[in-house]
Amino acid sequence: MDFISHDDDAITEMLKVIGVDKIEDLFKDIPKDLIINGLNLPEGLSEPDVLKKLKELGKKNTIYANSFLGAGCYFHYIPTLVDFVVSRSEFYTSYTPYQAEASQGYLQAIYEYQSVISRLTQMDVANASMYDGSTALAEAAIMASIITRKNQIILLEGVHPEYIEVVNTYCWGQNITLKIVPLDKVEDELNQEIAAVLFQSPNFFGNIEDVSVLVKKITDKAPNCLLIQCMTDPTCLGILKPPGETGVDIFVAEGQSFGINPSFGGPGLGIFATKEKFLRKIPGRLVGKTKEINGEREGFLLTLQAREQHIRREKASSNICTNQALCSLSALIYLVSLGKTGLTKIATQNFQKAHYVKKKIKEIPGYEILNIKPTYNEFIVKCPDVDSLIQECKKLNLLPPLPLSKYYPEMKDVALVCVTESNSRESIEKFIKALELANNKGGRN
């Protein structure tokens, strides 16, 4: 395939206008010994042939009828409106809207995204997106370090293990020290040298923390320290108190649950929202509303660009340029399609279905729910034989829960189970069956 339109006549004429004999003449500035003799790659494929090849490759990925796996990436129902809007090529083939007058459509959509995130989270201001939840958390930590002029960060246990690794890498880049601390020990570690405390709720193990109490504990002891909350499945905000009402300074989340396909973990969406007072230190793009210079009409444009890398260069607090714009458009359409009724119902179903499964598990001997705190759509279960459970799930065409030993080798008997509104009663019954079968095979009770 190729996407070039010129025929030979066009090329000949163009060469004449330029004033050279052949295309090779246009590469005369390149030293001769650097010019290669073509690439050692196969011939190009036509559309049907490339489709066939990819379908063959795709067969090696298993698609399950239902999933009980979460751990940072979630199966939720995606309204058809989402793909309808993001497939409009005026949106997806456009560039970053630097020329505001020709990009009012997308700019208004991003403004609406910033608004809908503000409304949902009750945080004062949201940016146009970061790469994903993990990098949003890392950049929030750096932002806190810049604001407070301190370079020590505390991270509470319960943050997604991959997120912890990412924050670690970013902090190392900036010579910021990171200390990981159990939640109940946080007060012992607080002092006036800490830039921020990072925590996740609902956390990696499913626990919902009492965020208001946690915030108060920390601000009492270290009033200048910033509080940063992250979340991996923000659909819980359909029911849970929003971060803007609990006092956190910066809220970040993985927005994949808002209308974005799992797609093997990417692209995702880094939701990033803060209190008003940190506005001029926020990384990433911001869309603002303003009026015409010579008129009364209101319009939208990228604003506060002096914070960003293309102006501030080495003095910028972040290097982010391309973000996840189309994914933020997906999230916007998801949230406005569901509306308050839909969001409340979806969150309720996640709570109810996970609760239902927990109750059923409690009836099976050999299994133990380990969460003491309330949970959303994920919880951890001690199992007689995690490997057996995984096998039984797969036989019933269910994507099994996560064996926690993947991240915590010492927790080899524990599984992280996820139940969302997309799990039908039928799939839940199958899952219970898998648990029972694994029990009979596994533990000696």
Binding site: R280, Q305, A306, I311, R312, K315
Partner: protein
């Protein structure tokens, strides 16, 4: 483009002006600097009481298209900042030597005053930059 440079002030190569009043110095950016930056949208000040050496960055001046840094022309302690610029940053453009002033400092090293530029020396620097 004709810029204004009051002759009773002292200047810095990095386009700050200084008005000395006993042991206090009032600091701002020159007419040339405000023109280069364009419409000022925000000024970020340090905390009152901070002591800084001559040549350090003391404030950031943001316009729509650029960010400028205010340098300390003399070593000193920040005793006042122009909070009027929070609501009216455009004063830096319209009145860079008047209502657009930025900081007042208590001078800690009077010897540094002699190192400041006269208006003639500063004008020469502008001419060279324009070329």
């Amino acid at each position: 483009m004709e810029h204004e440079f009051p002759s009773e002030l002292k200047y810095l190569q990095t386009h700050e002006w200084v008005r000395i009043q006993d042991n206090i110095a009032i600091i701002g950016i020159t007419d040339y600097a405000q023109h280069q930056l364009g419409d000022i949208v925000y000024v970020e000040f340090p905390e009152i009481g901070t002591t800084l050496k001559k040549g350090s960055n003391v404030a950031e001046i943001e316009s729509v298209k650029a960010v400028g840094e205010l340098m300390m022309p003399l070593s000193g302690k920040i005793i006042e900042v122009n909070t009027g610029l929070v609501d009216n940053p455009e004063s830096v453009n319209s009145s860079p030597y008047g209502t657009g002033w930025m900081l007042k400092i208590e001078i800690t090293n009077e010897g540094e005053i002699d190192e400041l530029l006269t208006v003639e020396a500063y004008k020469k620097i502008i001419e060279a930059e324009k070329k």
